[in-house]
């Protein structure tokens, strides 16, 4: 079973299918929790309760909303391009879910005597896989905005295009520092290389650049100009309603989960715990999920704190500050590692 990468020789095909279903199921069960978590937290940050009517403490609010969205009429404007209008949300969500496969939730464990890697896939190209899917996910945004046949959607999509290509470069360069330090592209290998010290300490500049660029890549505040509601109504998904809108919403949250998973893997030690604590193997996924929750809380915190950037500020920040800084970080890391 050397299907993709070099590390699959110990897993039969059915294990891979089960793993894919489990990861998909867990993450999609987490998504509604994440949505209510964000709304409650945002409420607290702004001195209010947040949703508190549906269910105990308002915790069933996302369920009520999903039912509401699912029952809506699939509307589309008369100027929309039917086929692309339907395909675009699918591209967005398929690429987001595919990127999940890369996040390692733990080392190789023996489950009923069968060795199983607690990750979707461990490819030899590592983070490049995420960047490839990120490049395709751009078409989900772009086609959605273009095919809507509306100026607001189109402008939102255009902003998304410019933002994505501007910050992808810095994000990639920030990662290269980690890859040089670890000496491998395999994400599980990178986690194992962090046994001595988590990389966010030696690679603190890379970590900050990666996180900043990730806010832009996932279209989160303060870089959410793609969906700046005061200027563009809703950005590229202005014309979407019902399940297609939910697809975009879930794609955004899945992207956030993927980015926090990558950040945890590359900078925060993956499933490793500090102070020499070595829990049994089944704890590993929970460690990773807990760390991801911390990173996601940071995402929400920043959204509640920082105002949205202006468009020219966004561009000059990306190209004139972040990119030179990322290049410098890469150079310094290369010199330190080689010396």
């Amino acid at each position: 079973m050397r299907a993709f990468g070099l590390v699959y020789f110990f897993e039969p095909w059915w294990v891979q299918i089960v793993k894919a279903l489990v990861i998909f199921g867990v993450i999609f069960a987490v998504l509604p929790i994440l949505i209510i978590y964000e709304r409650k937290l945002l409420g607290r940050f702004q001195g209010r309760y947040g949703p508190n009517r549906v269910g105990p403490y308002g915790l069933l609010q996302p369920m009520a909303e999903i039912v509401k969205f699912a029952l809506k009429e699939p509307f589309r404007p008369a100027t929309a391009v039917e086929s692309l209008f339907r395909i675009a949300p699918m591209i967005a969500i398929v690429t987001a879910v595919s990127a999940l496969a890369l996040v390692p939730f733990g080392n190789v464990q023996k489950i009923f005597g069968q060795p199983v890697g607690l990750y979707g896939i461990d490819v030899s190209i590592g983070p490049l896989y995420v960047f490839a899917l990120g490049g395709i996910s751009f078409y989900g945004i772009m086609l959605g905005g273009w095919a809507s046949g509306s100026k607001y959607s189109f402008l939102g999509a255009m902003r998304g295009a410019a933002q994505l290509i501007s910050y992808e470069v810095s994000q990639g360069l920030a990662l290269v520092g980690v890859l040089i330090t670890a000496g491998t592209l395999s994400l599980t290998g990178i986690v194992r290389a962090q046994a001595g010290m988590w990389y966010f300490i030696p690679q603190i500049v890379g970590f900050l650049i990666f996180m900043t660029a990730s806010f832009a890549e996932t279209n989160r505040a303060p870089f959410d100009l793609v969906e700046a509601d005061a200027e563009l109504v809703g950005g590229y998904f202005t014309e979407y309603g019902g399940t297609a809108f939910v697809a975009y919403l879930f794609a955004e949250y899945t992207n956030m989960i993927v980015v926090s998973g990558i950040a945890v893997t590359l900078f925060l030690g993956g499933w490793l715990l500090p102070f020499g604590i070595h829990p049994p193997g089944w704890v590993d996924p929970f460690v990773v999920l807990a760390k991801m929750l911390i990173v996601i809380t940071l995402f929400i915190w920043v959204r509640a704190t920082l105002p949205r950037l202006r468009y020219d500020q966004l561009m000059s920040f990306g190209w004139k500050i972040l990119l030179p800084l990322a290049t410098l970080n890469l150079l310094v890391t290369a010199i330190v590692v080689a010396a």
Partner: protein, 212 residues
């Protein structure tokens, strides 16, 4: 399994290539090209060239084509006329003559290449898979040892192209002599518009002449 995937990817690649040539709307042309490039990446994956596949998607579908889509979505129209190059029904344009010529030349070249080498591979099993083939490590080693000179020449070429793009795209001269920066930043506004500070006279009116 791999045969099924190969035929799916190959059909998508060829259909995409046809779409680039046949479709009239430039936006769909670009989308066809994207489909074609992604299908090529799938073919690379089937050849176990993972790094090449990822680079194909990241560089072409994810960066180059993004710019194409960007430009075409802004300026490309569905009813854009191409008769300037192809000529009308009565007079043949340059593309009508040169297009088939180059097409035939490429087809002949491909036929020579196919008949010369590739047909031997049909009866054989193909090259054996070596562990570590197509990984970034192997490609990096090859680049910096066996293919060092072509690699460096290619990077020099890319550098020249990048500098050339900057030189061509930059604004050649500064402001026009009779054009002040102030007028460019503050366009004319209709009367009775502006901020409270301007009404109170705390700051200069945006454009006093047009306002009155």
């Amino acid at each position: 399994m791999s045969a099924v995937l190969f035929f799916i990817a190959a059909i998508v690649a060829i259909a995409g290539a046809f779409g680039v040539v046949m479709l009239r709307n430039p936006f769909y042309n670009v989308l066809s090209l994207v489909c074609h490039l992604v299908a090529l990446a799938a073919l690379f994956l089937l050849l176990r060239a993972e790094f090449v596949a990822a680079a194909q998607v990241v560089v072409y579908a994810g960066a180059v084509m993004v710019l194409y889509v960007f430009v075409v979505a802004y300026v490309g129209g569905a009813d854009e006329s191409v008769t300037h190059f192809t000529g009308g029904a009565d007079r043949p344009g340059a593309l009508r003559v040169l297009g088939p010529l180059f097409g035939v030349a490429v087809a002949v070249e491909l036929c020579i290449a196919l008949l010369g080498t590739a047909l031997k591979g049909i009866s054989g099993k193909g090259a054996p898979y070596v562990l570590g083939f197509g990984t970034p490590k192997q490609i990096g080693t090859e680049f910096l040892t066996t293919y060092l000179f072509p690699f460096e020449v290619a990077s020099l070429l890319l550098l020249v192209a990048a500098i050339g793009a900057v030189v061509l795209a930059r604004r050649r001269r500064g402001l026009e002599p009779d054009e002040s920066l102030d007028a460019r930043l503050r366009p004319a506004r209709p009367a009775y518009t502006g901020t409270m500070a301007e009404v109170a006279g705390l700051v200069a009116h945006g454009d006093g002449e047009a306002g009155r």
